[in-house]
């Protein structure tokens, strides 16, 4: 039986996805452009016997999820860029104490108070630490409302499997736009098994401690080694990415994540109709970053261009993957400026011209303003579908 598709705003779909994942505890603080998540859950969670609490600040909200996860319940918080900055201290504690929580960052533009429009300026913050000490987050970046739903559910699974915080980062568009979605699970998922670590009262067992203080340097080093081993295991097993038009060697490889990748796809489809092969590599797990897969895609292209809604953050990981083997171009906007598919296409053509091969395979009959041949269009569609 086909599942029902519902037209939902991204933020509300994220809230519902958490419920479907069995998360009935939410602590958060209002901030644009994610406030529809707390609004949705303030309505839904009490109906389901869950707990919705509006904290006095993001600092408090992040410590409330530390408390909630510590007593062994599945818990969510959501915020936007400046709010996530305030949460980073607690996130470091949560990672150190190995507690499973899910955080959602519906990114707005920065730095400082920035603006409320979509941006991707928190890539470094999410993937390279953010807070103090050697911890990492599992970071997932959706490029549609449906994918946001799927990744919220996955984030809970991964957070619990590895007992570590997982974060969804979506630019403001993901939160604000409406798209049809279907939920892969019905009803409310089963509660979290508190296992042998949660503070549930010490009846019939030894007391437990949720703690990240290790005054003995050797012990503290061991904790760091243990966390590193866990992050390495996550890197081995949990890399996710999407490739588009990368089966054959291509003139240009585009790297982008989130909504920026979706805009790039439209431009890539148009170029394909004109006979120009451009591939897309879209990391879904920004951490662990799929370096090897990215390298394989890079190896099939003559040149690489990175598009981001920031001043160049993921490009550093692309450069690591390329390991100096290719010229890497970059086009970025910030502040809430969103590139149109046409602008993206122009930048792609510019990179191709600089590579000395723009339009090398361009068919005369398929000029940029001319009619496309039915065969080319079909081919482009088929290629698109396969991935």
């Amino acid at each position: 039986m086909a599942k029902e598709k519902i037209l939902m705003k991204g933020n509300e779909a994220i809230g519902e996805a958490a419920i479907r994942a069995g998360c009935l505890h939410f602590f958060g603080y209002p901030i644009t452009p994610q406030s529809e998540v707390p609004e949705y859950l303030a309505r839904r969670l009490p109906e389901l016997g869950g707990c919705y609490t509006q904290a006095e600040s993001e600092v408090a909200a992040s410590n409330m999820i530390y408390g909630a996860a510590g007593v062994g319940v599945r818990v969510l918080t959501t915020s936007s860029s400046p709010g996530i900055s305030l949460m980073t201290e607690a996130i470091s504690y949560i990672a150190a104490c190995e507690l499973p929580v899910v955080l959602v960052n519906i990114m707005r533009s920065g730095p400082g108070l920035g603006g409320i429009l979509p941006a991707q300026g928190d890539y470094f913050q999410a993937t390279k630490g953010g807070g103090h000490g050697d911890y990492q987050l599992i970071v997932l970046a959706p490029s549609s409302v449906q994918e946001a739903v799927d990744l919220v559910i996955l984030a809970f699974q991964l957070a619990e499997k590895y007992r570590t915080p997982a974060m969804i980062i979506g630019d403001g568009m993901i939160g604000q736009m409406m798209e049809p979605v279907e939920f892969p699970v019905e009803g409310v998922g089963p509660p979290l098994d508190p296992g042998d670590w949660a503070l549930t009262g010490c009846r019939g067992r030894e007391k437990r401690i949720v703690n990240s203080l290790y005054l003995d340097p050797v012990e503290c080093n061991e904790i760091n080694l243990k966390l590193k081993a866990k992050y390495d295991e996550i890197a081995r097993h949990e890399q996710r990415w999407e490739e588009y038009h990368t089966r054959k060697p291509h003139d240009l490889l585009v790297c982008a994540f989130g909504m920026m990748a979706r805009i790039c796809k439209t431009a890539i489809d148009e170029l394909a109709r004109e006979g120009i092969d451009v591939g897309l590599f879209r990391p879904i797990t920004l951490n662990p970053f799929p370096y090897d897969a990215c390298r394989r895609a890079i190896d099939k292209s003559r040149r690489v261009v990175v598009f981001e809604m920031n001043m160049g953050q993921m490009i550093e990981d692309i450069k690591l993957a390329a390991a100096g083997s290719r010229q890497i171009d970059f086009h970025g906007t910030a502040g809430g400026v969103i590139l149109s598919p046409d602008e993206v296409k122009e930048f792609m053509l510019q990179s191709l011209r600089q590579a000395g091969g723009a339009g090398r395979k361009k068919k005369k009959a398929a000029g940029r303003s001319g009619k496309r041949s039915a065969a080319t269009t079909r081919q482009a569609r088929a290629r698109g579908k396969k991935r």
Partner: protein, 254 residues
């Protein structure tokens, strides 16, 4: 032979790291005894602060969190709201609660979280080596008020119990002291009442405990008790600041 004294089940037998003469040990014991006597040790979750009592998670014989500096009331909120059957308490010092954690304690109190907060006020930052706290007395010498606390420059000490008692929501707010045996016996009765308000699912409860810090005050324990009595008690009067209306009569005698 009759056993006339036993170590409380509410504390582990781990030796504490507190300085000689410090009253943290006494306050730990009062809390531990209350938890044991109320029969809630096995469903209690305590939250240790950052400060001298940072290692309290080693000493209380129940499940324990270690919180970041000042955030214990937020951690307690998350824990209590997620598992209301737990008895959740935080144990915090003056730097932790009245300085960096002022926001968290005020809002936890104002939401009426059904938790118990033990606030140890010794008028100084102990763990970091005797710096000025929000509760440091006017004229009191500390390493960061080397000419004595000057209210014209840094304001007067914060009276947390009175500040919280001004809020409409919180149910039980009290201040006790530890400068004498009599005061300690009274302190235990008040801490016991605070926990009972939580056990009986009634209200937020807060007990400020005036404490001594011989090491950072530069006084002997005996002199410290006297200093507390002469300097702190007049500024920080002990007593029940707020109690749920309907229980005022019943609980008059403890």
């Amino acid at each position: 032979m009759n056993k006339i004294f036993a170590y409380t089940q509410g504390l582990t037998e781990k030796r504490t790291h507190y300085c000689p003469g410090c009253t943290h040990g006494i306050i730990h014991r009062l809390v531990g005894e209350v938890i044991e006597e109320l029969g809630v040790r096995e469903r209690s979750v305590g939250i240790a602060p950052v400060g001298c009592a940072v290692l309290a998670y080693e000493y209380f014989n129940c499940d324990m969190f270690e919180a970041s500096h000042g955030r214990a009331p937020a951690v307690a909120t998350g824990a209590k709201r997620s598992r209301p059957d737990l008895i959740v308490f935080s144990y915090q010092g003056d730097g932790d609660l009245a300085s960096i954690g002022m926001g968290e304690i005020v809002h936890a109190a104002n939401r009426g979280e059904k938790i118990t907060v033990i606030f140890v006020n010794n008028a100084v930052y102990g763990m970091t080596g005797g710096q000025m706290a929000p509760t440091t007395m006017p004229g009191q010498y500390t390493t960061t008020s080397p000419r004595g606390r000057d209210p014209a420059e840094v304001g007067y000490p914060v009276r947390m119990a009175e500040l919280l008692a001004e809020l409409t929501t919180p149910g039980f707010i009290a201040r006790v002291s530890t400068h004498s045996v009599k005061a300690i016996i009274e302190a235990k009765a008040v801490i016991r009442e605070a926990f009972r308000h939580q056990v009986e699912e009634r209200c937020f409860s807060f007990v400020e405990v005036l404490s001594i810090c011989p090491t950072n005050w530069g006084l002997s324990p005996r002199e410290s008790e006297k200093w507390l009595e002469q300097n702190m008690l007049p500024y920080y009067p002990v007593g029940i600041k707020k109690r749920p209306e309907e229980f005022r009569e019943d609980w008059k005698n403890g």
